[in-house]
């Protein structure tokens, strides 16, 4: 079993919600990633999502696209992302890490080698945006051998009759995409989210976390009331890059993102 299931059980027992930050590995620098992950945990993150940079991040909005581009300019490969996870594990054996990316780097490494490398590094789960249940079979076989969770996206366009197909392939948690669109886009309609979460809950007992469109404590709280956790990505990266573009140091830019995550943590805990 990965660290995800015990993590969500503990949260559920104490009536708390998971706060899950997303950053791109190697953005803005290779050296900043692991320290930033530790800072996010200190600010209240329960699970970490680490983006694997890809040349063609088709589901990302402009903010995260730029993050991928900066990381690739730093020559960050999937192997290095796993090295970062291993380095993080030296200081934190508890917090689950999910890596999120696209199919091709995984295809290139090979499913069996990838699964083994993830297990060795201390990865707990995987989100592959462009591997729907229809395409995931052979990879899931390898992930299950090393007890790494495969986390699937369910979207507002997923028909009710398809939800069961997805949850049957999933473990760890379900990632509900709150808006039709790319990351960081759109306006979240919390009543619409609630309706979809009910449909998903009818099919699975897995925890459900909601992402895409969560920008601050307010939107996180609105969704957190219905879900088991919230994912925040673009808002953190945007906060960091806007700060740095207006003259902040790397350290200060990261701290502003960490502060935003802290405010989301506080908002959710006090709702």
């Amino acid at each position: 079993m990965s660290r995800l299931t015990p993590c969500f059980e503990t949260l559920r027992d104490s009536g708390r919600k998971a706060v899950i930050p997303y950053i791109v590995a190697g953005d803005p620098t290779v050296a900043s990633t692991v320290p930033m992950l530790h800072r996010l945990v200190a600010a209240g993150a329960n699970v970490l999502e680490l983006g694997v940079p890809f040349s063609d991040p088709m589901s990302e909005g402009p903010v995260i696209q730029r993050g991928h581009e900066r990381a690739l300019a730093n020559h960050v490969s999937l192997t290095q992302v796993l090295d970062m996870v291993a380095e993080f594990r030296q200081g934190d054996q508890v917090t689950p890490i999910v890596i999120m990316g696209y199919a091709n780097p995984v295809e290139r490494m090979g499913y069996a080698d990838f699964a083994a490398a993830c297990a060795a590094a201390g990865v707990d789960g995987l989100i592959t945006v462009d591997l729907p249940p229809e395409e995931v079979g052979p990879l899931n076989v390898e992930l299950q051998k090393v007890a790494i969770d495969n986390i699937f996206l369910i979207s507002p366009t997923t028909p009710a009759q398809r939800v069961g197909t997805i949850t049957a392939n999933a473990s760890g948690f379900i990632y509900y995409v709150a808006v039709k669109g790319v990351t960081g886009a759109g306006h979240l309609d919390s009543s619409d989210v609630g309706m979809h979460l009910d449909v998903i809950r009818a099919e699975t007992t897995l925890p459900i976390c909601v992402g895409f469109g969560i920008k601050d404590a307010e939107s996180a709280t609105a969704v957190g009331a219905m879900a088991d956790g919230v994912v925040v990505g673009s808002a953190l990266i945007d906060t960091m890059t806007v700060a740095m573009e207006s003259g902040d140091s790397l350290h200060d830019g990261i701290e502003k993102a960490v502060t935003l995550l802290g405010s989301i943590r506080t908002g959710i805990d006090n709702m």
Partner: protein, 406 residues
């Protein structure tokens, strides 16, 4: 390869999961899965609906101007002194290339699905123009995504699209070419999936696109087959077509795949030379991977990042290729070769001067290879080259390369 080459084999792909052997599939974000399923259901229904076929055929006849002629390039054939070369004149279609066969078909699908907004990606601009054209005709809103780099080298087509009422959206991410335009179109589709039909311009993308684009483009090969029999009394000995994503090539090849004796050559963009790494020839020098919704041969580095490509022709400047081509390569049915920038430019001039037909730079790659192929064959043999598009759009590019101010 172990598989028997037979007509049945070629009719069996894609399988119900959209696979051509190990290639193809539906590698997209969950948000698009139901849209693809809906498109597949609608297409499977309409493709065997005689009224839909009649509407498609009528548009091809009266709006596009089909059938396109099969023209014997006698002067060029004589000059080479080998096989007779015939040109399938897709350049004579309305809008000047084969692309319109597919946009007519997909626009009819959009109409049947009640979509009011269409989007398209474009490289050279031919597919963008063909999409803007059908949108104008049907009164649909049209947004065309085009790499900022391509907008510079294809300014005439950009203006044509604007005249037709389309909005051309410059794409500034990544390499600013066709692959990035496709990324951006997919991002738009995810966002506006309810009211938007995505007209993919080539036989790539997620299932069912490679299948339906192939089906719409196969009119090229069906006509060529009939015309070859009528003009020469036999099937061609060889077919030649350029391959970027590969829609004109599949369109010509597909109706002949079961004809064992018809050799086929797909000509990729060799850029500065396949050996230099600066090219757009994934079948010649790439490896299988996943991009833009399908598994196929790609130009990628050892970490699975998609590499930047180079070709003098914007329409071939793409790091992937349609999944059916990947499969046809692996089973050995089609030979995939490359022609370099210089060879294409030489052919562009050579054919313009010898036959009075100015080919698109994309097409010039196929013509460059056909010249070599014909020289090794005999006058009792004949080749059909898909003259996929006309070269007017490339005049400024050619002039710039040659340092001529127009």
């Amino acid at each position: 390869m172990t598989e028997m080459i037979s007509p049945d084999l070629f009719a069996s792909v894609p399988d119900p999961d959209g696979r051509f052997g190990p290639y193809g599939g539906k590698f997209v974000a969950e948000t698009l899965m139901s849209a693809l399923a809906e498109l597949e259901v609608v297409y499977r229904g309409l493709s065997c609906d005689p009224d839909f076929q009649k509407e498609f055929d009528s548009d091809l006849a009266h709006y596009v101007g089909r059938p396109s002629p099969l023209y014997e390039a006698s002067r060029m054939s004589d000059a080479i002194g080998g096989a007779r070369i015939f040109l399938k004149r897709e350049d004579l279609n309305h809008t000047g290339a084969h692309k319109v066969n597919n946009t007519i078909g997909q626009a009819l699908l959009a109409k049947h699905m009640g979509k009011k907004r269409i989007i398209a990606e474009t490289g050279a601009g031919q597919h963008g123009v063909a999409s803007a054209t059908v949108a104008a005709r049907l009164g649909l809103e049209c947004h065309v995504f085009m790499g900022a780099e391509d907008i510079k080298r294809q300014s005439l087509n950009v203006y044509r699209m604007k005249l037709l009422g389309a909005e051309v959206i410059p794409v500034t991410s990544g390499s600013k070419t066709l692959k990035d335009a496709m990324n951006e179109a997919l991002r738009d589709w995810v966002t506006y999936v309810d009211n938007t039909f995505y007209i993919i311009g080539t036989v790539a993308g997620p299932h069912p696109y490679p299948m339906l684009v192939r089906d719409f483009q196969s009119v090229i090969g069906r006509e060529a087959r009939r015309q070859s029999l009528a003009m020469t009394g036999k099937l061609p000995d060889a077919l030649v077509a350029c391959v970027g994503g590969g829609s004109n090539a599949i369109g010509l090849f597909h109706p002949f795949l079961g004809d064992e004796k018809v050799a086929m050559y797909g000509v990729e963009a060799g850029g500065h030379g396949v050996e230099t790494g600066q090219h757009a020839a994934p079948l010649s020098a790439g490896t299988p991977g996943v991009l833009h919704g399908n598994r196929t041969y790609l130009m990628q580095d050892q970490n699975g990042q998609i590499m930047e490509t180079h070709s003098v022709s914007a329409g071939l400047d793409y790091p992937g290729v349609g999944p059916e081509h990947s499969w046809l390569k692996d089973i050995g049915r089609v030979n995939y070769v490359a022609a370099n920038d210089d060879e294409a430019l030489t052919a562009f001039h050579h054919w313009t001067r010898t036959e009075g037909i100015m080919p698109a730079l994309e097409t010039a790659h196929a013509l460059a290879y056909a010249e070599k192929l014909a020289a090794d064959m005999t006058p009792d043999q004949h080749i059909i080259v898909n003259l996929s598009g006309r070269g007017d759009k490339d005049i400024l590019t050619v002039a710039a390369i040659e340092g001529i101010e127009v």
